[in-house]
C-alpha cells in the first residue's frame, strides 16, 4: 500500500484554484452515464448526493434511517464556522486556517485545512439561499458568536439547532433531486460490505432493514458519508445508531484507517445518572460564551453551590488559561475537568461533575437575554436533571463526542481504494488530533457541496462510462454478508447485544479515553479479544433474518466495534506522544499539558488490514508545516 496525499504544488492559497483547473472534467452529456453510490445522507452525504445530481450524475443514495432527514447531523446544536469576517473583528481565511491547524495540534494536513477555510464562506451563502433561518440582527444581517479555540466571532447559528437547520437545507436540496428523479433514495438500507472489482470500488451490499433482503448495488464510484464512531464508548453524545460498520468493512476490503485513536471528549455534557442510561446529552459549547466553569476549592465541599463564597471557588479555566478562559479548546477543557474531579473537587452525587455557572451573566445581561441565547438548552437541561439552571449552576462532565480519525483519504478525498471516496466525519482529513467547535458542520458541507463534486469528476473522467452491473464479486460479497447474518442468529447465547456493547464501552472509556498510558492500553489489547470471543459464543440474537430485527442490526455493529476497538488501542499505543484529544500520561509537561513529539510522530498513521487475526500494518504519511510553523500550542 502506498500513501500518496496528492497535495498540489504551489503556494497554499493557490493550491485549490490551481487543482480545480488541472482536474479533468466529465462532459455534461456524459455525466448521466455514470452511476455514483452515496452511503449516508447526513450533512456530508446529503449535500454531496444533491450536488452530484444537480451536475447530472446518476445518484443512488442510501441510509439506514427511515428518512434522510433523521441523520445524526440533525442533533448538532451550536453552529458552523465561516471566515466571512462580517463582525469586522480581524477574521480571514488565513486566520480560520491557522486556528484550525493549531486547534488540531499540528496533526492535520495544511492543504486540506486551507481549502476548508476557503470554501467556508460559500457554505453560508449556499445555506442562506436554501432558506436556512440563521440568527439575524435587527438590521436584517447575519449574527455571529464565538466558539472555543478562537478569538474572533465567526460562528453562524440557528438558535440551538444549527445542525437541524443545515441538514434540513441539504435534505431539501436532496429532496428536490429525488423529486426530479435524479437521485434514487434507498431508506432503511444498511451497507454491510463494499464490493471491489479489479482494485476499484464498484458497489455495495446492503440489507433491507424491513424485509431482511440482502441486495447488491453496482456503480462507477462509491462515496461513504457514514459519520463517526463515538458510540464505540457505548455512552456518548452521538445518536444510538451511529456506528463504524461501513468504514470498518471498507477497511477490511483494503481502505487504510487513519488515526483511529484521535477521539474527542466534549467538556460540556450532562453527567451520567445511572446504570441503564442509553446516552449522554451534550450541552452546547456555545454556553461557555456566558457560563463560567468552576469547582469548590475544598474537596468534598458539602455546601450548595450558591452558599460557596467567591473566594472559595476555583474558576480553573480562567486561572490556567487567562487569554482564552472558559473558551479554551475542548481537549484542554475536558482534561482540566477530569483533573479537578480526580483531585476530589468534583460536584454532584457522583462527584464526576463541575459547575457551569450563569449567575454573573444573568446579573450582567438579564435573564431574558440569556434565555434568548440559550433558552432551549436550559429547558433541555431542566427536563433531564429536574434542576433549574437559571437558579443553580449546571453540572457538566466530559463525554465522548466526535471522532477525528477515519478512513484515510488523499487531497481528492479518495481512500486507498480507487473509486472509494470518504467525506464528513467518516474521513480523517481536516481536524488533526482535536476538532474545534463548529467546524464539523463546516467540513461536512465543504466536502459535500464544494470539494467532492469536483474531485470525483477527475476520477470518473479517467474510467470508461460503460454501464455497470453486479457481477461475481458482488455475489461473493453478498454471500459473505448472508453468512455473517446467519452466524449471528445461530449463536443462541445468553447475553444481550447491549450488555457486550456496554462492557466494551466501559473498557474503552477507562483505557482509551481521556487519559491513556502504555500499561492500560496493553491490558485493553488483551481484554478486547476475550470479550469478542465471548460475544461470538454467547450473544443472544432472537428472531430471524428475514424480517425487521433490530437486535441483529445492533449485533453486526457491535461485532465490528469489537474488532475496531482493538485497532484504536493499538494506534494509541503506537503514538508515544500526547497531542490534542490523544493524551498519554507518560508524555506531559511539568504543568500537565500535552507534550508532542514532532521529531518522531509528525505523521498521520494509516493502518492497513492484513487479514483476520493478523496485526494491522502501519503506514505513515509525513505532515509538513510550511505555513503555520510547528509550535507548542498555548492558550495561556
Amino acid at each position: 500500500m502506498e500513501l500518496d496525499s496528492k497535495i498540489p504544488s504551489g503556494p497554499i492559497a493557490d493550491k485549490w484554484t490551481k487543482h480545480r483547473f488541472e482536474m479533468k472534467l466529465v462532459n455534461p452529456a456524459n455525466k448521466r452515464k455514470y452511476d455514483v453510490i452515496v452511503v449516508g445522507t447526513g450533512l456530508a452525504g446529503g449535500s454531496a448526493a444533491a450536488t452530484l445530481a444537480e451536475l447530472g450524475y446518476n445518484v443512488h443514495a442510501f441510509c439506514f434511517h427511515g428518512s434522510p432527514r433523521r441523520a445524526h447531523s440533525i442533533a448538532a446544536q451550536g453552529g458552523i464556522n465561516a471566515a466571512k469576517n462580517y463582525p469586522n473583528d480581524g477574521d480571514s481565511i488565513h486566520r480560520l486556517f491557522y486556528d484550525t491547524v493549531k486547534g488540531g495540534d499540528f496533526r492535520s494536513r495544511e492543504a486540506n485545512v486551507h481549502r476548508l477555510a476557503e470554501v467556508s464562506v460559500n457554505i453560508i451563502d449556499q445555506c442562506v439561499a436554501q432558506g436556512v433561518p440563521f440568527a439575524r440582527e435587527y438590521g436584517g444581517l447575519l449574527d455571529n458568536r464565538s466558539f472555543g479555540g478562537a478569538q474572533v466571532s465567526r460562528t453562524f447559528y440557528a438558535r440551538g439547532q444549527t445542525g437541524q437547520q443545515l441538514l434540513l437545507g441539504a435534505y431539501s436540496a436532496l429532496s428536490r433531486q429525488i423529486g426530479l428523479g435524479k437521485v434514487r433514495m434507498h431508506v432503511f438500507k444498511e451497507m454491510l460490505d463494499l464490493v471491489v472489482v479489479d482494485g476499484h470500488a464498484k458497489g455495495i451490499i446492503t440489507r433491507d432493514l424491513r424485509t431482511g433482503k440482502i441486495e447488491s448495488h453496482a456503480a462507477h464510484a462509491v462515496v461513504l458519508a457514514t459519520g463517526g464512531y463515538s458510540t464505540v464508548f457505548f455512552l456518548s453524545t452521538n445518536a444510538k445508531g451511529c456506528n463504524v460498520t461501513a468504514g470498518y468493512r471498507a477497511h477490511r476490503r483494503g481502505a487504510a484507517f487513519a488515526n483511529p485513536c484521535y477521539t474527542q471528549i466534549h467538556p460540556t455534557c450532562i453527567p451520567q445518572h445511572g446504570d441503564h442510561q442509553a446516552k449522554l446529552t451534550l450541552m452546547s459549547e456555545s454556553l461557555r460564551n456566558d457560563g463560567r466553569v468552576w469547582v469548590p476549592k475544598k474537596p468534598n465541599d458539602p455546601r450548595r453551590a450558591r452558599d460557596i463564597p467567591e473566594a472559595e471557588r476555583d474558576y480553573y479555566l480562567e486561572r490556567k488559561y487567562p487569554s482564552f478562559g472558559n473558551l479554551a479548546p475542548r481537549d484542554i477543557a475536558s482534561r482540566s475537568a477530569k483533573e479537578a474531579c480526580d483531585n476530589g473537587l468534583g460536584v454532584g452525587s457522583s462527584k464526576r461533575g463541575v459547575y457551569l455557572d450563569f449567575r454573573d451573566s444573568i446579573s450582567r445581561l438579564g435573564k431574558d437575554a440569556i434565555s434568548a441565547r440559550y433558552g432551549n438548552l436550559f429547558d433541555m437541561y431542566q427536563r433531564i436533571t429536574d434542576e433549574n439552571p437559571y437558579e443553580v449552576p449546571m453540572r457538566i462532565y466530559p463525554a465522548p463526542h466526535y471522532t477525528m480519525g477515519g478512513l484515510w483519504v488523499d487531497y481528492n478525498l479518495m481512500s486507498t481504494i480507487p473509486g472509494l471516496f470518504v467525506i464528513g466525519e467518516a474521513n480523517f482529513s481536516d481536524h488533526g488530533a482535536n476538532r474545534l467547535g463548529a467546524s464539523a458542520l463546516m467540513q461536512g458541507l465543504a466536502d459535500g457541496y464544494f470539494v467532492l463534486p469536483y474531485t470525483i469528476g477527475d476520477y470518473l473522467a479517467r474510467i470508461p462510462s460503460t454501464p455497470i452491473t453486479a457481477g461475481s464479486e458482488h455475489a461473493a460479497a453478498a454471500s459473505e454478508v448472508t453468512k455473517q447474518t446467519e452466524k449471528l442468529l445461530s449463536i443462541d447465547g445468553k447475553r444481550s447485544v447491549d450488555s457486550f456493547h456496554r462492557e466494551l464501552g466501559m473498557l474503552m472509556l477507562d483505557k482509551c479515553g481521556m487519559a491513556r498510558n502504555e500499561q492500560r492500553l496493553k491490558e485493553a489489547i488483551e481484554q478486547i479479544p476475550a470479550i469478542r470471543e465471548e460475544f461470538w459464543e454467547n450473544v443472544s440474537v432472537p428472531g430471524s433474518g428475514a424480517e425487521l430485527n433490530q437486535q441483529l442490526e445492533k449485533a453486526g455493529r457491535v461485532a465490528d466495534y469489537l474488532e475496531f476497538a482493538e485497532l484504536m488501542c493499538r494506534d494509541a499505543l503506537m503514538r508515544n506522544e500526547s497531542c490534542g484529544g490523544h493524551f498519554r500520561e507518560e508524555y506531559q509537561t511539568a504543568d500537565g499539558e500535552a507534550l508532542r513529539d514532532d521529531e518522531n510522530y509528525c505523521f498521520a498513521g494509516a493502518w492497513e488490514y492484513t487479514g483476520k487475526g493478523n496485526s494491522p500494518k502501519l503506514h505513515r504519511e509525513p505532515l509538513v508545516f510550511e505555513n503555520v510553523p510547528l509550535a507548542i500550542r498555548s492558550y495561556k
Binding site: 450536488t51 440533525i74 439561499a129 447575519l142 428536490r176 442509553a278 446516552k279 433541555m380 447491549d498 425487521l548
Partner: protein
C-alpha cells in the same frame, strides 16, 4: 419504580396485531421512556424472545425517529417533548402504561411501534425546497431579512417531521407538517419565486398520500413536540386559495 406495560405487537403490516402485557421492574425515575423500554427489551432478548421494535436515535428530541402513542397521546403526557425526552418520573409508580405506534392510513406499519413515514418525504419532494443549485448563491448578507421574519420562519422550521400531528388528529391530517414548511419558505424573500407553485404541489401531494382534512380541532398543535402553531395552517390555506384563484 415498577410499571405494567401494554404494548402493541404486530409482526408486519399484513399480520394482525394485539396488545401484550410486560412488567417493567426496578426502573429509575430518572430513566427516559426509551431507556425503560431498553431494560424490558434486554430482558426479552436474554430469554430468547423477540424484543419490542421501535424507532429512536438521537434521544434528545430532534431527529424525529421516536413515534409512540402513550396512554392515547402521541409522545405521551409531556408538553413540547418527544417520547425520548419523557422521563419515568412523569408516571406514577405501579401505573399501567399503554404504548401504541403512531396510527395513520398514510403511515403503514413496519413492526410493533415502528411506522413508515416516507409519505412526509414525498410531500417535501413535491416542493418543500428553494430551487438553487450548489454554487449559484450570492453573498449571504446581500439578502437582509427582518429579524422578526427570520424568527417566525425559524419557529416554523423547527418541525422534526415525527408525525405526532397526524397521529393526534382524528382525521389523520398532515396540515401542520405541510404548513410549517410552506410558511417557513413563504416568510423568506428567497422563498418568493416559487411560493404559489410550492403550496399547490405540496398540498396536492399531501391529499394524494391519503392524509385527511383539517376540521380545526388543534390537536396537532397540542401534541407537537416543537409546539408549532396552527396559525401556519391558516397561512397555508390563504396561499393555497390565492394560488388557485390566480391561476
Amino acid at each position: 419504580m415498577n410499571f405494567t406495560l401494554h404494548v402493541w405487537r404486530q409482526k408486519n403490516v399484513d399480520s394482525p396485531g394485539q396488545m401484550v402485557i410486560y412488567p417493567a421492574r426496578d426502573i429509575s425515575p430518572d430513566s427516559s421512556f426509551i431507556e425503560m423500554i431498553d431494560v424490558v427489551n434486554s430482558g426479552l432478548a436474554e430469554k430468547g424472545e423477540d424484543p419490542i421494535a421501535y424507532e429512536a436515535d438521537c434521544l434528545e428530541g430532534i431527529c424525529g425517529c421516536c413515534s409512540m402513542t402513550i396512554n392515547g397521546i402521541p409522545h405521551g403526557p409531556g408538553r413540547g417533548a418527544t417520547t425520548c425526552q419523557l422521563h419515568m418520573r412523569s408516571f406514577q409508580d405501579g401505573e399501567h402504561i399503554y404504548i401504541e405506534p403512531f396510527r395513520s392510513a398514510a403511515f403503514p406499519l413496519v413492526k410493533d411501534l415502528m411506522v413508515d413515514r416516507s409519505s412526509f418525504d414525498r410531500i417535501i419532494q413535491a416542493g418543500g425546497f428553494i430551487s438553487v443549485n450548489t454554487g449559484g448563491a450570492q453573498d449571504a448578507n446581500s439578502i437582509p431579512i427582518p429579524k422578526d421574519d427570520a424568527d417566525l420562519a425559524f419557529d416554523a422550521a423547527q418541525c422534526i417531521g415525527c408525525g405526532a400531528c397526524v397521529a393526534g388528529c382524528k382525521n389523520g391530517a398532515a396540515m401542520l407538517f405541510t404548513a410549517a414548511k410552506v410558511a417557513q419558505l413563504a416568510r423568506l424573500p428567497q422563498g418568493q419565486p416559487e411560493r404559489y407553485r410550492r403550496v399547490v404541489h405540496m398540498v396536492e401531494t399531501m391529499d394524494n398520500e391519503g392524509f385527511g382534512s383539517c376540521t380545526n380541532q388543534y390537536e396537532c398543535e397540542a401534541v407537537c413536540p416543537k409546539e408549532i402553531s396552527v396559525r401556519y395552517i391558516a397561512e397555508m390555506n390563504r396561499d393555497y386559495i390565492k394560488a388557485k384563484l390566480c391561476k
